[in-house]
């Protein structure tokens, strides 16, 4: 069908208008507001001790939660794909749970487990562990919310590469680790990398779950998203905007990596094993990108 010229322009206007008013204009506006009086005020706002600590804490969450979920994700994907078992469907369902749950509910669940009246809270505090309102609780929240990404990205790639090369390596005398490092991992690396990018984005921006378990104590348990919210609520708009810009820039970098990683993950020409099943999507992507 060749739509009439007016229909084409009508649809174009609707799509661009919607995206512009909902996405572009608000994001552009916050950039404008931040740099309205030059680069000085936002830099100053971001170099205050509380802001620097919030950035440090956010990066710390990424540094802990992302590796933990990556190791778990790859291991879990290998198990789900390579070892048929009745219970796999249950494991798969549990892995999806974090995304069916509101971040606030995740926060509440950890609060109930590790709070003063919780299941583990009293015992742990007797042993000298403070989970709630401190870093361990925030780490647990970050791990919970970002758990499924690496598994979900790795499973389809593992299914597609098959086992022939792994079996060949094994026949030629490679042990399990050699097979994994030299054959399996290179073949699935873009899928894993894409999962890592998504995990990072989620951990960087997590607000709901962390706000419940952290207590949001400035300079102690305040991540960058919490810093933004609190600054805004305390009418320190300059700090809120500057913090939001830092997060937005991190998000834009993630977006860039997502579009590169997503394409690579689907084309996956890099591994030693050509991936057969995904040619349609790869072609579609090329078309779409042209």
């Amino acid at each position: 069908m060749t739509p009439t010229l007016s229909a084409k322009w009508g649809l174009r206007t609707l799509a661009f208008g919607y995206l512009g008013l909902l996405l572009l204009a608000p994001v552009g506006m916050i950039f404008y507001k931040t740099f309205e009086h030059g680069i000085g005020p936002p830099v100053e706002a971001m170099t205050s001790p509380d802001a620097l600590h919030a950035i440090y804490l956010t990066l710390l969450m990424v540094a802990i939660a992302v590796p933990v979920n990556t190791v778990f994700g790859v291991g879990c994907a290998l198990l789900l794909v390579r070892h048929k078992w009745k219970g796999n469907a249950i494991i798969d369902g549990i892995i999806n749970l974090p995304f069916a749950v509101s971040p606030v509910v995740i926060g509440l669940s950890l609060f109930l487990l590790y709070g003063t009246g919780g299941w583990f809270g009293p015992t742990l505090s007797e042993l000298g562990f403070q989970v709630l309102f401190s870093i361990p609780g925030m780490v647990l929240a970050s791990i919970f919310v970002s758990l499924p990404f690496v598994v979900r990205e790795t499973v389809p790639v593992l299914q597609e590469i098959g086992t022939e090369q792994e079996q060949a390596a094994s026949t030629l005398g490679a042990n399990a680790w050699q097979t994994f490092w030299r054959i399996t991992l290179p073949a699935i690396r873009w899928g894993v990398a894409y999962g890592v990018v998504l995990t990072t984005a989620r951990v960087l921006g997590e607000f709901g779950a962390v706000t419940i378990v952290s207590g949001s104590i400035s300079g102690e348990t305040e991540t960058l998203p919490l810093f933004v919210a609190k600054s805004f609520e305390q009418f320190d708009e300059q700090s809120a905007y500057a913090g939001a810009i830092v997060l937005a820039l991190l998000a834009l970098t993630t977006l860039l990596l997502m579009s590169i990683g997503g394409r690579k993950a689907r084309t996956a020409s890099s591994g030693p094993i050509p991936i057969a099943g995904d040619t349609a999507i790869a072609t579609a992507n090329t078309k779409e990108g042209s």
């Binding site: 916050i30 974090p98 299914q159 094994s170 779409e288």
Partner: protein, 302 residues
């Protein structure tokens, strides 16, 4: 892997070729333990707390005036938002697939911005443009309109991304045949194109609805969190935690959780329905799986 012959002595059959370092049994144990500590035990604690004072207390907490008002607002706003998404998501997908213009790849990448942008930043950006200091003079802050706008922002990619691959793959011949038989542009769209896009639109709508139900970060600054007016369920849960009513918070949480699980089931039923007959699992592999992976929302067995 147990059945694979060990032709070389250094590669014993139970070496765990697929799962290096540990056998499948131990691997399952470790994964089970990890999932229990991270996911299952916390959620069990919520379920336990919601019933801590018996079922009638649970029911009272859910049907209390304030919690019911919040739940109604959440569901109604989510329904409005998915309806908006169904229309604009389809239009955006159409423009991205069938239209040609400069900078298309940039617009295509931009669609994912709401997935990447932290929710608190999303709320703040909307408040900057449509709040009290709006340069347009449009102040929607602390109104129900703000709730809808914020939810529309965070759920924008779902339908567009679900419809896009279906449009790319659609056979143009049927449309051409219809046109040559005298069908107008709108008739072709309604009779030929739209029926083919319905599964994608539905999948996107269900996933967007699940996301909207639990949304918190983007609403906290812009909605004003006014009880009986702009307070959604997730915000209500937080206010109950802060005032020490954890069993009330847990009861509403269980309701949200139950609705989300129903939506998960609906997505997998949709997959089964749309892949019935001979046309393999192409809808699932092309539409639901990539989308589900991207937003981390599972839509069926792996």
């Amino acid at each position: 892997m147990e059945g694979h012959p060990a032709t070389i002595p250094t590669a014993p059959p139970r070496a765990g070729l697929r799962l290096p370092g540990v056998g499948a049994g131990l691997g399952r144990g470790l994964i089970g333990l990890y999932l229990s500590v991270i996911v299952l035990l916390p959620l069990a604690a919520v379920l336990d707390e919601s019933l801590a004072n018996g079922f009638s207390a649970f029911w009272d907490a859910v049907t209390g005036d304030q919690s019911l008002a919040a739940l109604k607002l959440t569901v109604v706003c989510s329904l409005i938002v998915v309806a908006i998404n169904a229309v604009f998501g389809t239009i955006i997908a159409w423009v991205l697939v069938r239209d040609e213009f400069r900078g298309k790849s940039v617009v295509n990448a931009l669609i994912d911005l709401p997935f990447a942008l932290p929710t608190i930043v999303a709320g703040l950006t909307l408040l900057t443009l449509y709040g009290a200091d709006s340069p347009f003079g449009v102040n929607i802050a602390f109104t129900r309109v703000a709730v809808v706008v914020a939810l529309a922002f965070v759920t924008l990619p779902f339908v567009a991304r679900a419809v896009q691959p279906l449009l790319i793959e659609m056979d143009r011949e049927m449309e051409e045949a219809a046109t040559s038989l005298g069908a107008g542009g709108f008739t072709v769209f309604r009779r030929i194109i739209l029926p083919n896009l319905v599964p994608g639109i539905l999948a996107g709508v269900l996933l967007a609805f699940a996301r909207a139900l639990g949304e918190f970060g983007s609403l906290i600054l812009i909605s004003g969190n006014i009880p009986f007016d702009t307070e959604v369920s997730s915000v209500f849960i937080r206010s109950q935690i802060e005032s020490g009513n954890t069993s009330g918070a847990a009861a509403v949480s269980v309701v949200l959780l139950a609705i989300s699980l129903l939506l998960l089931v609906a997505v997998s039923l949709l997959v089964r329905w749309s892949t019935r007959g001979g046309d393999s699992a192409s809808f699932y592999t092309r539409v639901v799986k990539p989308l589900a992976a991207r937003i981390g929302f599972g839509g069926g067995p792996s």
